[in-house]
């Protein structure tokens, strides 16, 4: 279908997208690491419960931890090998239980049976069994998303990839458009909708052209604006509907899925492959060869960096995920998750490390907030320890933590830190 132009929303910032660094690197498969460590916290909600014991032989794709509760997902072995250790490790995301697997070199796989022409129920079950979570970053279990409580009218596929540096979704859309379309159709079938919209930012015209080929998918050209891929923003610019605070997209009749998630659904349905591998971007000016890679979940960051030729200069910051929302890691001694969309080695010229100066009350943070909040108030009251006032005058509850406010702040104030502190203080109070 011919692409149409999306709406504009008030707010947002325009960081330099830096996608040129890794844009032209075609997807490659990273060779299996000798040992992986797979976290049991791969999605929102409770961590999964390990179902294997130390010493057990596992095959790639075998369930090693079972979902605990509704909002949780199964975790799979990503290489065939022996479970060497199950222990808690404190990493960049806090303390998580990791299952360590040492490769045995057999490369055995254990897939689910492929489905042909599945029914809606079969697709839903398969999404659950394959442990698919939202691969855009939040890691919300897809099985919950495809079973909404209210009827939906449309599926929106998120191809915005508004984070600077990241190009893995771009490569995926360029190389696997057919598969993404198939995956999207399966999800649409599971939801019982026929309308599929894909939103792609205007800086990826080649991807838009790819998706114009399909008759049943409506591409929408999105303005280059961060955060365009935020769920609520994406729904607004593509359909004009506003998702209320504390409401789900299904409440306004839409469901949003990332392109990588659509691809994972395609793999799970047609090939029976559970989610234990994903695309990620290795980029930044401090990495020798920027690449877009297929990486097994649990691969050590060191193995990935080494495969990309190591550091070209000493990085100032190493980020897991995108530069706007990702987590800065202190060492290469970290392991990838289902939700890791990038490894960025940022040189001193790229990474922001300015000392904060006094707040000027310029209000730029409020101007760029895509949720129209008042981050400066949150920071002001949070610094005084008054978290109730911080939440009230900063309207913190609706914050999506996109980081636009801190990006624009001329005084370089740590706004996101204040917002997270406020949110945590309020959570603890409840």
């Amino acid at each position: 279908m011919k692409a149409v132009k999306g709406k504009y929303y008030f707010g947002g910032v325009h960081p330099h997208d830096m996608k040129n660094i890794a844009k032209d690197a075609a997807l490659e498969v990273l060779p299996d690491a000798e040992a992986v460590a797979i976290s049991t916290s791969q999605s929102l909600g409770k961590p999964a419960l390990p179902v294997v014991e130390v010493g057990a032989e596992v095959k790639a794709g075998q369930v090693i931890a079972k979902a605990d509760g509704l909002i949780s997902s199964d975790v799979f072995a990503s290489i065939s090998g022996t479970v060497t250790e199950i222990k808690e490790v404190v990493g960049a995301n806090g303390a998580e239980k990791y299952i360590f697997i040492k490769a045995n070199g057999k490369n055995e796989t254990s897939f689910l049976p492929p489905l042909s022409d599945p029914s809606a129920e079969e697709i839903k079950d398969r999404i659950k069994d394959a442990g698919i979570v939202g691969l855009g970053g939040a890691g919300f279990p897809t099985a919950v998303k495809v079973a909404p409580k209210t009827p939906v009218e449309a599926l929106i596929v998120n191809g915005a990839e508004c984070e600077p540096y990241l190009t893995c979704d771009y490569r995926l859309m360029l190389e696997k458009a057919e598969e993404i379309a198939k995956g999207a159709r399966y999800i649409a079938k599971a939801l019982g909708v026929t309308k599929i919209i894909i939103g792609i930012e205007a800086n990826k015209p080649d991807c838009i052209a790819e998706f114009e080929k399909f008759d049943d998918i409506q591409p929408v050209i999105l303005k280059k604006q961060y955060p365009m891929g935020g769920e609520k923003q994406l729904i607004y610019v593509t359909t004009g509907r506003k998702v209320g605070i504390g409401k789900l997209p299904a409440d306004v009749g839409v469901v949003v899925q990332n392109v990588a998630t659509c691809y994972a659904v395609y793999e799970a349905v047609e090939n029976g492959k559970p989610l234990y591998e994903r695309v990620l971007t290795v980029s930044g000016k401090a990495v020798s060869q920027p690449k877009n890679l297929w990486v097994k979940v649990g691969t050590p960051v060191k193995a990935i960096v080494d495969y990309c030729g190591g550091e070209s200069v000493t990085p100032k910051k190493v980020v897991q995920g995108g530069p706007m929302t990702g987590v800065a890691i202190a060492s290469y001694d970290e392991y990838t998750h289902k939700t890791t969309s990038g490894i960025l080695l940022m040189s001193a010229e790229e990474a922001a490390a300015d000392e904060p100066t006094p707040c000027l009350n310029c209000g730029k943070c409020a101007d760029v907030c895509p949720m129209h909040l008042m981050p400066m108030n949150t920071a002001f009251y949070a610094s005084a320890g008054d978290f109730d006032a911080a939440a009230k005058y900063g309207q913190t509850a609706a914050c999506i933590e996109c980081g636009a406010c801190e990006y624009i702040c001329p005084a370089k104030r740590p706004l996101i830190q204040a917002i997270r502190k406020t949110k945590a203080a309020l959570r603890n109070k409840k």
């Binding site: 800065a328 790229e350 990474a351 100066t357 409020a366 005058y393 980081g403 990006y407």
Partner: protein, 350 residues
């Protein structure tokens, strides 16, 4: 990987804009006014401007040096203290000094400017906590302080380097030409040479306030650089012009509204300068967009009414007055989050 690695909360990229950059932008935007002032008022204006800027910067430095503990230590390694001061110097005092000088008449004595600059920075800004913490606009407070202390309002010079372009122009002595004072019953319009008012030629006034063309250039620069929101000064001017015009029409000319009297109100006095450079001050204006709208409209109405009642230029007073309302506006005028829906209050069944 060595220990030089930095960890922090996201975002890991930030805009290149800094406080210092913004303040330099404001200083650049003020330059046309300063140059026009020097051209119109000669070397006296230059002295006022230089004294204003230097006294503000020097006051900030001295305060930085003597404030807090360890004065004797600071004296010992004064060089390091200077380097540290330069590192954190954000040009706010340069802007304050420039604005303060530009809203003074060129006949102001240099020691008056010096005292005004010290008052602006030390009392109004640094005593309240420095950059970003001052309650009221330092330049406006300094000007009011000088106005009350030295009666500078009576000693205003005419732009002597240039004669009026339109020869029928009347020159009114006083701090500034006020539109409200100008209309005479017989022939209000021909007495007003709009072009002279706009260019500031042959008009009495403060150094930076007379040449409206220079202010316009500064406004365009600020708007293009996105230091200020382009619509804010326009909103202020429009509301002010409308109210002043209506009041002038009703009270001078017995219920006749002459459209020709709309522009003189705006082009006279310090309205334009205040709207572009002083009302838009970040620190002392509301934070949210809606609060800012309230602030500009209320300020414009207040200025128009007070100017009509007092017949003197009260822009600085109005700015101070509005500054004091800002915490209140910030507290009660807050925007609603994206997707906010008003919750209907349900009456509890008894």
């Amino acid at each position: 990987m060595d220990n030089s690695i930095v960890i922090s909360t996201p975002p890991h990229v930030k805009s290149k804009r800094t406080t210092r950059g913004i303040m330099i932008d404001v200083a650049i935007a003020l330059l046309p006014c300063a140059i026009a002032g020097c051209v119109f008022f000669g070397w006296r204006a230059l002295i006022v401007i230089l004294t204003g800027v230097l006294s503000c910067v020097a006051t900030e430095f001295v305060y930085y040096f003597i404030a807090n503990k360890g004065f004797s230590n600071k004296c010992r390694d004064a060089k390091q203290v200077c380097v540290r001061w330069l590192k954190q110097f954000d040009f706010t005092s340069v802007v304050t000094g420039l604005i303060l000088a530009l809203i003074l008449p060129s006949s102001t004595k240099w020691y008056m400017v010096l005292i005004g600059g010290i008052f602006s920075i030390a009392v109004v800004k640094m005593f309240f906590g420095g950059t970003g913490k001052n309650l009221v606009n330092p330049a406006a407070a300094g000007r009011v302080f000088m106005f009350l202390s030295f009666s500078i309002v009576t000693s205003c010079a005419i732009a002597s380097q240039f004669g009026p372009i339109v020869d029928s122009s009347v020159v009114i002595s006083g701090a500034t030409n006020l539109g409200g004072l100008l209309p005479s019953k017989s022939d209000p319009v021909s007495n007003l040479a709009l072009l002279d008012l706009f260019l500031g030629t042959g008009v009495a006034g403060c150094i930076g306030e007379t040449c409206k063309l220079a202010i316009l250039v500064g406004y365009i620069y600020l708007a293009v650089r996105k230091v200020i929101k382009w619509y804010q000064p326009l909103l202020f001017i429009a509301v002010f012009g409308l109210v002043a015009w209506l009041m002038g029409g009703f009270f001078y000319d017995k219920y006749t509204l002459d459209i020709n009297l709309f522009l003189p109100n705006i082009l006279s006095g310090g309205v334009l300068f205040g709207a572009v450079f002083m009302f838009t001050d970040y620190v002392t204006s509301p934070k949210g967009t809606y609060g800012q709208l309230v602030y500009y409209v209320a300020g414009a109405i207040l200025l128009a009414v007070l100017r009509y009642l007092t017949k003197i230029e009260v822009a600085s007073f109005v700015i101070l007055l509005m500054n004091l309302f800002v915490p209140l506006i910030d507290k009660y005028v807050i925007g609603r989050p994206f997707g906010y829906k008003k919750v209907k209050k349900q009456k509890e069944d008894k």
